[in-house]
């Protein structure tokens, strides 16, 4: 086979984003995907006839609109539909909802506490201020503070200038926000436990930390800085499931002349004289390329695909200790009909949003305690959505697809591998939790896919099934992501780059790591991207 310019290891969303930009810049890019389908953790799979499952990621907000535009994703079929609000059910038979309408949202909170109802605006303002600071940084390579290259210095100055627009109070607030726990953060605004439990969700999702662990406030921020068409913080469903994102990317990539090979499992990165020269597939086939880009996480890339002797000792040490712990599971359920939740008013919009059952901070923390002991949570935290309430393409009329994100779920059970019985018991903690609030729920289930970190790692390739390719705590962000000195998508091996969520600005179906990696690669090749929009102005 002829040697290509770029070999991309893995066809996840970031790999495809980078591949698109590189191909459009005139390079000849080959994407190698081990599965028989592309998408990584952004897929729509028909695992039972008539139903499409967003079987890993399930909602869309973070994906950068600049990338959608540059890569013409709408033309290739991508559509994101905003949804409204959601609710958490309380054990006393009530619920607390969140609504898009400002006054309805306030009145809903006022049912629990007038003070908290009026505190929400202050909370939203403070979070928005922080998001406005971070948003422009997503689409820029993190500066290396220890390099004295003009570009790094100018990027540091940019960062300093952005920071300087804050008042002294906001600067202090930023540092606190990046380091404190979501529980402490929410305590400063709210008095009602269920309100805190509801909002704390975004601080622990996908993270092997509890709501009371320092660093989780930033994780919340990470989930607020997305947007749906300019509505910052809003979430939506990709029409056709999350696979619609990667299908559009794959289609755009192929339309610009790129090649995708599925069923091509990369076993090793080839090096010659210390430089990456291509990859070897599991069946021994060699695929040569001038450059190799890995969409795999930093651990998988450097601990499995690259010979250790090609890497500096400190680097390997850092990679080994990069925190990428499995903490989440997933149930994907085909339903015969829309479940009923008697606690909700008739025709409530909440059913079209995200629903939870964890109504206290203590339950949330106890769920984490189980994980620390090496068990799945007996009383898990579930983030449940039914995208088919807004998207008619994922199930036959009247039937529904339900996605349940479950936390916490360890990669191994008390140090041993998962068994089928474990998996069934894990699934039952979730199903019985839902059934407690939705009579007859079990009878509506037509088919169910249960995914523990083990399945996610085996199928998607994410180490320990960590959805972010590494936790989003301050010690693993910006110029420390994934390793100090290697935060600019390059690696110790010349010709080998990283472009996945292990790199700045981190996880979520955002596309920014892939786009930024492509920018650095093109810079090294002294090529100009065909079109690469800068981050939209935050004015």
């Amino acid at each position: 086979m002829k040697k290509c310019d770029v070999v991309m290891i893995g066809g996840g969303h970031n790999g495809l984003v980078a591949a698109c930009y590189l191909q459009r810049a005139g390079l000849d890019v080959l994407v190698l995907e081990k599965n028989d389908w592309v998408g990584g953790a952004a897929t729509s799979r028909e695992l039972t006839p008539g139903f499409l499952y967003s079987n890993c990621s399930y909602v869309c907000s973070l994906f950068r609109p600049e990338i959608m535009r540059d890569l013409e994703l709408p033309k290739h079929g991508l559509q994101v539909i905003a949804y409204e609000g959601g609710a958490v059910f309380t054990r006393d038979g009530d619920y607390i909802a969140s609504y898009r309408d400002h006054d309805s949202h306030r009145r809903e909170f006022a049912r629990y506490s007038k003070r908290d109802a009026e505190a929400y605006d202050r909370y939203a303002r403070d979070v928005t201020r922080q998001c406005r600071f971070i948003q422009p940084l997503l689409m820029r390579t993190a500066p290396d503070p220890f390099s004295f290259k003009p570009r790094d210095i100018s990027e540091l100055l940019y960062l300093g200038k952005k920071f300087g627009e804050f008042s002294a109070h906001d600067m202090a607030q930023t540092l606190r926000f990046w380091t404190m726990s979501i529980s402490d953060f929410l305590d400063e605004y709210f008095e009602t436990d269920v309100i805190k439990a509801y909002l704390a969700l975004s601080g622990i999702i996908g993270t092997a930390l509890g709501a009371m662990s320092p660093g989780t406030a930033y994780v919340l921020l990470h989930h607020y800085m997305g947007e749906v068409d300019g509505s910052v913080g809003a979430w939506g469903y990709a029409r056709g499931g999350m696979g619609a994102v990667t299908q559009a990317l794959a289609s755009s990539f192929q339309a610009s002349g790129g090649t995708i090979r599925t069923g091509a499992d990369v076993a090793r990165v080839m090096t010659r004289s210390g430089r990456a020269t291509g990859v070897v597939l599991a069946d021994g086939e060699e695929v040569r390329g001038n450059l190799v880009v890995s969409n795999a996480d930093v651990k998988r890339t450097f601990l499995k695909l690259v010979e250790e002797d090609a890497l500096p000792e400190t680097f390997v040490h850092r990679v080994k200790h990069f925190k990428m712990r499995g903490s989440s599971g997933k149930l994907n359920i085909a339903l015969d009909s829309l479940p009923e939740f008697p606690a909700l008013p008739k025709n409530s919009s909440c059913i079209r949003g995200d629903l939870h059952f964890t109504d206290s901070m203590e339950r949330m923390e106890r769920a984490y305690d189980d994980w620390k002991a090496g068990r799945y949570s007996a009383d898990p935290f579930v983030d449940m959505v039914i995208p088919t309430t807004l998207d008619p393409t994922m199930a036959p009329p009247g039937k529904h697809f339900m996605s349940c994100f479950v936390q916490y779920c360890p990669p191994q059970i008390e140090g041993r591998d998962w068994t089928d019985a474990d998996r069934d018991a894990f699934a039952d903690t979730v199903v019985s939790q839902i059934a407690d609030y939705s009579p007859g729920f079990r009878d509506r289930i037509l088919h169910m896919e249960v995914r523990t970190p083990h399945e996610i790692e085996t199928e998607v390739g994410l180490t320990e099934g960590n959805i972010f390719q590494g936790e989003l705590t301050f010690d693993q962000l910006l110029f420390n992501r994934p390793v100090p000195g290697y935060a600019q998508y390059r690696s110790p091996v010349p010709g080998l780059y990283l472009c996945g969520s292990s790199t700045h600005p981190g996880g979520g179906v955002m596309g920014a790591p892939g786009r930024n990696a492509a920018a650095e690669i093109l810079r090294d090749l002294k090529l100009k991207p065909a079109e690469m929009s800068p981050a939209h102005d935050v004015i």
Partner: protein, 406 residues
């Protein structure tokens, strides 16, 4: 404290009507000719009722009824209420005697205005604070260490503004005995049905006028009483558009229209000190302690105040709302936040924020760039602007004691 389960469940239905109706809504809806509603703090409120322009003339010539129920209201009561409010607000509450109202403002620690509003002293230990934005967490946190209770009572208390030259005649005819004794900024309770109505001689129009507060249950009977009594005195119901014209003539500012309140501003540079929005006269520097005092005094001493709010008279008759102000037609100097042609002053007036030294040291040679969209074409004009004192109009009838019957 989390509310009881039954209380919470009883309130679940709010979502069926995202726009609440005020206690007066049935009456306003019944006479509304324009069905022209907007949302005011979560309530359906009339933008106009029959004709925006004629409604304005009702304020200036007869009597206008305007529903102020959506205004946010807090009841502040307790032995330390005065001491608490003196720490909270910039004005001296000790000087506010029982049965009086004053206009005031309150600031965060940086001296940035959180809101402006009116403070009613209902009794020695009981106050009502009326304002545009919601502040319960701020008010409660400020109360730590004070023996004071704070209740949000927006829903429970209905409010009406009755403004205009015949407003006194209307109240008098409605049988509110001794109403003639009320002087500007005075308040008193008057019998109504089985209870009472609190009437103050206040308003947002710069005209003779009153504001009336009753428990929500008594709202409709109060409306009917005024409406009946007002028939021979030209009483009309009005919407916000007309009121807004009157308030600009009176030179009053509106939170989050003429200035950004500190808690809602996303951008750090948008917050304003009292001196930057024309409220320096409220600040009582003799008071040893009030929130924001240190920052305000420092800014005055170090001359670091960045903005100034002024009244402008602009040549011609094209309202300049949203226009950029220039010095010498060249250097950007500020922004117009509200502007109208004043029917009463027969002048083109505006409220504007200027970046100092414009408006302080440099007060001459100011120009306003007006883009008037006329039949799909912008008419661009550069018009001379002159800084003039507010209010733009002064009406003797506003403060006449006793008020005239007209």
């Amino acid at each position: 404290m989390m509310l009881e389960m039954n209380t919470r469940r009883a309130l679940q239905g709010h979502i069926a009507t995202p726009r609440f109706e005020t206690p007066f809504h049935p009456r306003i809806a019944a006479i509304s000719e324009t069905s022209d509603w907007y949302t005011w703090a979560g309530y359906k409120a009339p933008h106009s009722v029959f004709d925006e322009e004629l409604e304005y003339f009702a304020i200036r010539s007869t009597a206008a009824l305007f529903d102020i129920s959506p205004m946010v209201k807090y009841r502040i009561a307790g032995p330390d209420a005065e001491r608490y409010l003196n720490r909270l607000t910039v004005r001296n509450v000790a000087k506010l005697s029982t049965g009086r109202v004053h206009y005031t403002a309150w600031c965060d620690d940086h001296g940035h205005v959180l809101d402006d509003g009116t403070l009613f002293r209902l009794s020695a230990d009981t106050f009502r604070l009326c304002c545009q934005e919601r502040h319960l967490p701020w008010l409660l946190d400020s109360a730590i260490g004070f023996d004071v209770g704070i209740e949000e009572e927006t829903m429970q208390i209905a409010g009406l503004a009755l403004q205009g030259p015949t407003s006194f005649a209307v109240l008098s005819n409605a049988g509110f005995d001794c109403i003639e004794r009320l002087k500007p900024f005075q308040l008193a309770d008057f019998p109504h049905e089985d209870g009472s109505v609190t009437i103050s001689r206040t308003g947002f129009t710069g005209d003779l006028g009153y504001e009336l507060f009753v428990p929500a249950e008594a709202a409709l009977s109060l409306w009917d009483r005024l409406w009946t009594a007002g028939q021979l005195h030209g009483i009309r119901a009005i919407g916000y558009a007309a009121l807004n014209r009157a308030r600009i003539e009176a030179g009053f500012i509106v939170a989050n229209a003429d200035f950004m309140t500190a808690e809602t501003a996303l951008r750090a540079d948008r917050a304003r000190m009292p001196d930057e929005i024309g409220l320096e006269w409220l600040v009582d520097t003799e008071k040893p302690n009030f929130n924001g005092r240190k920052a305000i005094l420092e800014a005055r001493r170090n001359q670091t105040l960045k903005h100034v709010l002024v009244g402008l008279e602009i040549e011609g008759n094209i309202p300049a709302d949203g226009a950029i102000i220039y010095h010498r037609k060249k250097h950007e100097a500020g922004l117009v936040s509200a502007a109208i042609w004043s029917p009463l002053a027969k002048r083109n007036i505006a409220i504007a924020s200027l970046t100092r030294p414009y408006g302080t040291r440099l007060t001459e040679d100011l120009w306003v760039e007006i883009y008037a969209l006329r039949e799909l074409q912008y008419q661009k004009m550069m018009k001379r602007a002159r800084i003039v004192p507010r209010p733009f109009i002064k009406l003797d009838r506003r403060a006449a004691a006793p008020p005239g019957l007209f």
